[in-house]
């Protein structure tokens, strides 16, 4: 609605034969750019970022269908069709890798996703004060510790002579090397992940909570609602859109767990539960120079991710009327 006046003005001052182009997209875009060039300038770095780091590398995914040799280059490497995919699907480790990746992902989702929400809700019940501030700071801090350091600490703590075993022995248990036990691996991974991310993850929910209208609480109190009822009937519904969006975003990256923490924590005795697609890609691609093979696996992983995201979005649209698009 705003477009008309300045455009008309501009055309009027410039040329007389403009009316023909008045409504063409190119013309309007050009005009808009002239008018809001500062905004376009602001968004430019982001566009460049996405182009350079998200779109430009996409052509590289084509090497999944090649037998890529760096020295021959992209143009010179031979095409092999689906060979790399077939090799992965028929690999003896295929089933285990997908299973481990899915299990770790879903367990991280089930246990890791609600944790910051619960922390945020608990913090919300506290009155602002030094205690609340301390809790928040203490829970944020681990987020800033490098994963290398975290993994080093975990390895030491989980040794048969480590801190955790000292605690187990104090309560009458027996010492055992925890990181050599495949059954415990995912628990260690997930608990440490929650410890590291819970504070950071709660920030967005705390900000959503601060936007809840205080009158709603007053009204609920007048209606005789207790603390817990207010939590269930006022607080949670108020931040539900945030939760749903966060959930969908999380689903989108469900299968793309990074390899860093895994390769720092696993060893051959825990491959059974620890080896995931990304750590396998790391071993095959970077350590064994299987460029094309690892790209094919990565591409497969991305396709699964995309499908999961689409399903989650569709479900959410149906169930909660909130969705990404």
């Amino acid at each position: 609605m705003k477009q008309a006046t300045p455009e008309a003005l501009a055309t009027a001052t410039k040329t007389a034969k403009a009316p023909k182009h008045l409504h063409s997209f190119g013309y309007r875009a050009r005009k808009d750019m002239q008018r809001n060039w500062e905004l376009y300038l602001l968004v430019l770095p982001v566009l460049i970022f996405y182009f350079l780091f998200c779109y430009k590398p996409m052509y590289g995914a084509l090497i999944a269908f090649q037998n890529y040799k760096p020295a021959l280059g992209f143009a010179g490497s031979p095409w092999v069709g689906f060979d790399n995919f077939i090799r992965f699907f028929t690999s003896p480790f295929f089933g285990r890798l997908v299973k481990n990746t899915l299990f770790l992902s879903f367990e991280l989702l089930i246990f890791g996703f609600p944790a910051p929400i619960i922390l945020a809700l608990l913090l919300n019940e506290l009155h602002a004060g030094p205690f609340k501030k301390t809790i928040q700071t203490v829970t944020y801090l681990p987020h800033f510790i490098s994963i290398i350091v975290v993994a080093g600490m975990l390895t030491d703590f989980c040794m048969s002579t480590g801190l955790i075993n000292d605690i187990i022995v104090f309560f009458g248990g027996a010492r055992s090397p925890l990181l050599q036990n495949p059954a415990l691996y995912r628990t260690i991974y997930i608990l440490s992940d929650i410890w590291q991310q819970i504070g950071w993850g709660s920030i967005i929910y705390l900000s959503a909570l601060s936007g809840v209208d205080a009158q709603l609480y007053d009204a609920a109190s007048i209606d005789g609602a207790g603390r817990f009822q207010k939590l269930l009937n006022v607080t949670l519904p108020s931040i539900m859109p945030t939760i749903v969006i966060m959930f969908i975003l999380r689903i989108g990256s469900l299968m793309s767990i990074g390899y860093e923490k895994t390769i720092l924590l696993y060893n051959p005795s825990t491959y059974e539960t620890a080896d995931i697609i990304s750590s396998y890609v790391y071993r095959v691609g970077i350590l064994e120079q299987g460029w094309s093979y690892s790209t094919a696996i990565g591409l497969f992983n991305s396709v699964v991710n995309l499908i999961l995201l689409l399903i989650a979005n569709r479900l959410s649209k149906k169930l909660t009327e909130t969705s990404l698009w």
């Binding site: 037998n67 040794m159 970077i286 299987g290 460029w291």
Partner: protein
Amino acid sequence: MKELEHIFMKKNTGKKALALLSASALSATMLAGCGGAAPASSAPAASTDSTAVSTAEGAEFSYPMSGDHAITYWTTLNEIMSSDYSNMGDSPFGKGLMERTGVNITFQHPPTGQGDEQFNLILADGDLPDVMEYHWMDYPGGPEKAIADGNILALNDIIDQYCPNLKAYLAANPEADRQAKTDDGNYYMFPFIRGDDALRVTIGLMIRQDWLTELGLEMPTTMDEWHDVLTAFKEKKGAAAPFCYEYKMGSLTDVLPFQFAYNTTKKFYVGDDGMVHFGAAEQNFKDFLTTMHQWYSEGLIDADIATQEFDQVSAKMSNGTAGASCGWAGSRMGVWSNAALATDPNYDLEPCPVPTLNKGETAKMGPIENVVPNQGGVAITTSCKDIEAAARMLDWAYSDEGHMYYNFGVEGVSYNMENGEPVYTDLILKNPDGKSIANAMVDNIRGNYNGPFVQDVRYLSQYYTLAGQKVSNATWLVKSAAKYALPPITPTAEESEQFAAIMNEVNTYRDEMILKYILGTENLDTFDDFVATMNSMGLDKALEIENAALTRYNAR
């Protein structure tokens, strides 16, 4: 597809060879041109005569090279050196090397512990440093494939043209020559060569002799005696982890002497029949695993074997938590002894012979490295512009002067000649800054680790200061070990991808299962299934490829 790829590669190698020829010709003419145009070159040693005919035979050539030469040199920085210098070019060794060869070297180092990862990333990037130091046999598919992939140069013509010293050494040492090239007769690196058999045995078992004496026990020579000794350590000395070593370190676990007692090894070896075998798929290996699992379940082997690293093992070996280990005489036995001797003057770590099953037997297999071990070799990459400078700089190490420099450093500074033998000065042996011998050596020479040169045995008796270290080579040496060791054989470029794909899966699976068998998370009754699974992954085919490679190697 394979066929197509084959043709493609061949074509490419041809192109590369052509490019190489023209490049070397170009650099040669360029150098000649330089010499002619600028006779007032700053290097005093190089006469105008020698530059004019420098391309002819190399006979008139002399170091340092005249003119401006700069190359980039990628190598992992020795861990000990990294505590003193962040770049080899800043160390006395690096500075001296540049000064003496007349080549300005820019060293590039990957972060500690990320050498292999960085190496592969650099290859993927395609913009290679001029020369790269690497364990080239581990290049997936082997050195021949590194050439076929267009990453490094075949050096035959370059050696003929610029490297009289290396050429002369290889001509005089046929075994080293055979191990330093590929089946196709391509030289691909300036090799690290063990100049003496004593240098080929550096890893073995070691035990607390002071504990043995205290408990009235003999040095263990059989697996049963080892069991008794370790049990005694646990029960009488309170050692929580009687046998403890860096299991994660592949170079140690691959040659753990206990497996040799069962005439087996987890890797490929050459059997009595002259064929290549895969030890982990044979019955003997099950016997080895059975014993290891028994020891583990009795608490004789460190419980945290799969997760611990150097620091934890060092602490345990020095503070009495462990009484026996496996490692190098220098960087393990020496380091732990010296650390412990500071507080416990009786601490005495001694090397143990490779154990056998029955008393009085002699072991057949043992830890031994090839004359040209898989480390420290330097290749010239396809990105190198000044090939002559790179080749000349590297060839210098095989000259008499370079040999002394790499092994002993600078005469009058780090060593003196006494009765015709090089003897390290106090700069090395009693470093004024309080550095350990290993540390002082690493700063000034490469003789005590590796690199592109011929290692001199005369460093060893001076490097090993403890009584245990001095007898380590003789104790650990198994006379027939070399017969069973796999020489540096390589699959052909065509087979190498298939071989790499098979062995990647087999090795992953094997390492996982070995650890599970030892820890007891998997029952040894499933050993036959384990072997069957490895065969289904294509182990038969891999053995076929290896045997063909051995035949080709023997025919070299």
